[in-house]
């Protein structure tokens, strides 16, 4: 956007001032995320740039916090060779947390994506009854404050069959709190709104006559879905799945309330680290997570462009 030729001098000054203001706001948005990356290589246990770091002295930088991530919780961190890695894989706290985060993230994403995509297909049909109300219910896990959701889940997952008492059925069927299944179901619930939103947005531009064309050419509904509908909405489904995965991967409140010691995830471990003994090791984790989110953002952007291209939506 350029300054129009008829602009007065005052307007020109304002235009440049405006660009500077925008620059400052962009700086506010991005600086906090960028600044932790160099700080995570600090050789000293401080949260600010030391003099040696500012003079670019290699002595001022180290990867000790990344090493401490690996060795924290290991039985024998001084071992060498194969034994070191086996020990790290089995015992290091952050490695365990990463494994848990990935297991919980993948399975909750699967549940959320399958159920969410089916529902989005139904919601996008013009015949869908009570569309607005049902949509409002399905999106509500994103709107209701997490602490309220987590509180409700805390009671529900400690005795999931309590409500069967109304029907006179036995009210004791074990606990879901403190199990992987419990955390996976909870995270699936929280991820579902994101799948619904992205998939219904993809389906808005979906040409229903393609389905009829497939049917008229003799395809049964299953073939039509897998050969015609699915490839077209796949980019939307994948970005919904990525949103659901990130939601689970970043979620700490539900984990705090319903997970047991066996289900410590990365955010849970960070939460402990921040509240108790904050050390630059947290910054090392944070840096790794920032790199992870850059990778995810790139994937989603590429998918969005691909989806716009194959659906024939020209970029505005």
């Amino acid at each position: 956007m350029a300054v129009p030729t008829y602009a007065t001098p005052l307007e020109r000054i304002w235009h440049y001032a405006y660009l500077v203001i925008c620059g400052l706001i962009f700086f506010f948005l991005i600086a906090p995320i960028v600044v932790i990356i160099p700080l995570s290589f600090n050789a000293e246990p401080y949260f600010t740039f030391t003099d040696r770091m500012l003079s670019f002295d290699p002595e001022g930088y180290s990867t000790r916090w990344y090493e401490s991530l690996l060795t924290f919780g290991m039985q024998n961190p001084d071992a060498t060779g194969w034994g070191f890695w086996v020990d790290a894989w089995n015992n290091a706290n952050w490695v365990k947390a990463a494994k848990n985060s990935i297991i919980i993230g993948v399975f909750s994403t699967l549940v959320a994506t399958v159920l969410g995509t089916l529902a989005a297909l139904g919601l996008s049909r013009p015949e869908m009854p009570f569309r607005r109300a049902i949509m409002a219910i399905l999106i509500s896990p994103m709107i209701v404050p997490l602490i309220i959701t987590a509180t409700g889940m805390f009671f529900f997952y400690s005795n999931p069959c309590e409500m069967l008492g109304i029907f006179g059925l036995p009210t004791d069927c074990g606990r879901l709190a403190g199990t992987y299944v419990g955390v996976i179901l909870a995270h699936a619930t929280l991820g579902i709104p994101f799948v619904i939103i992205t998939v219904t947005a993809t389906l808005v531009g979906f040409d229903q006559s393609l389905n009829r064309a497939a049917a008229s050419l003799g395809a049964n509904p299953r073939t039509t879905f897998f050969r015609v509908t699915m490839p077209l909405i796949l980019p939307g489904v994948i970005s919904g799945a990525l949103f659901a995965f990130v939601t689970s991967f970043d979620e700490v409140v539900a984990v705090l309330f319903i997970a047991g010691p066996e289900q410590q995830t990365i955010p849970r471990q960070m939460w402990n680290g921040i509240r108790e003994q904050i050390s630059p090791a947290i910054l090392a984790v944070a840096t790794l997570l920032v790199i992870f989110s850059i990778a995810l953002l790139t994937t989603v952007e590429l998918l969005r462009r691909r989806s716009e291209r194959i659906r024939g939506v020209t970029p505005r």
Partner: protein, 432 residues
Amino acid sequence: MANALDPHAAIATTATGLTDGALRTADGKPLARALARSQSLARRRAFLLVLPLLAFILITFVVPIGQMLQRSFYNDGFSANMPALSQWFAENPRGTEPDEAAWSALATDLQASAEARTIGVVGTRINYDVPGTRSLFTSTGRQVRRGIEPPYQAALLEIDEEWGDPALWSAMREASSPVTGNFYLAAVDRKRDETGSITQVEERQQVYVMLFMRTFWLSLLITGITFVLGFPIAHLLATLPMRKSNLLMILVLLPFWTSLLVRTTSWMVLLQQQGVINDILVWLGVIGPDGRLQMIYNQAGTIIAMTHILLPFMILPLYSVMRTINPSYVRAARSLGATSWTAFRRVYFPQTLPGLGAGALLVFILAVGYYITPALVGGSSGQLISNMIAMHMTDTLNWSMAAALAALLLGAVLLLYWVYDRMVGIDNLKLG
């Protein structure tokens, strides 16, 4: 009316028979009925696709929240374990001095409850209303278990004089009914006194109203700041050529995709007294080495970090509305003699209002329920109502109180959600 392209409707358009005046399909069924059938079939099919998810959400989300809310008005911790005394309260109106029958009921219940090891539950329930009474119940229970002789009044007063306290009896009367609105009264800093009328709690215990006000006020402030910061950015992104704005958009989306805990951690690092911002200010000479600013573990920390976290939620809806605004309107206004300020105020800004409404409502809804960031950077003056709910859940274990506060917060959020749906429509919620 059926979709003209619907296959079932297509059959109907080939209607042949007109014998009895009614349109019929090719196989001779009345058209209206065939149409209704095919429509209801389509409705059922669509609904069946949604059903699994709807059932899942109802079971894992709606029912748990309902169960939790039930605790806000239902607590049988006292009534279930002290049946005889609860019976006496039910039979005698408020203001009746406890007679020997009441004392005897109390002693019997204490004895039975101590035997059944539920005396702690009873004590905890009364402890919510009269702090410090949990130990009274447990210690008395221990002694009563060894045996107690009538007259019970004298015997119990002998064990502990506090049993004669009218406030205690009033609290027990309140707790003797499992259904109670007292937790909601407490959530707005009110209580029932000995005579049963509603009064304000003592000034030093008045926390909840203040916290609700603070939550709403800070959320409003954060919404305002995100608007002030988000508007220029959205405008810039919407008016730049696509290629450039896509690049700059990454700067908005990256924070959006970055872990909440990571962003909160970076603000802790930046705002600390020994942190980067204070270091820069000292280096610039703006503040002395002794005058380092306290920017975290207080309200300022909560406001700064939450503004940063919620800013993309303001920018994205504003941007998508501004993209659709035709620039020739502003040019037309200018050509008709409006100054650039007037053109902005009278022509451009009113067209951004839908995006502004969507963004502001979303930011406000999310801010009102925020928990993690205030808990980590808020100190004591930056805590919000969510943190109080968490405290009652994990520290004081007053779950009914947590449920009552949650119910009030949930009511406010659902009201705003409804307004959002009316104004913006949930379908228009966009992510990235």
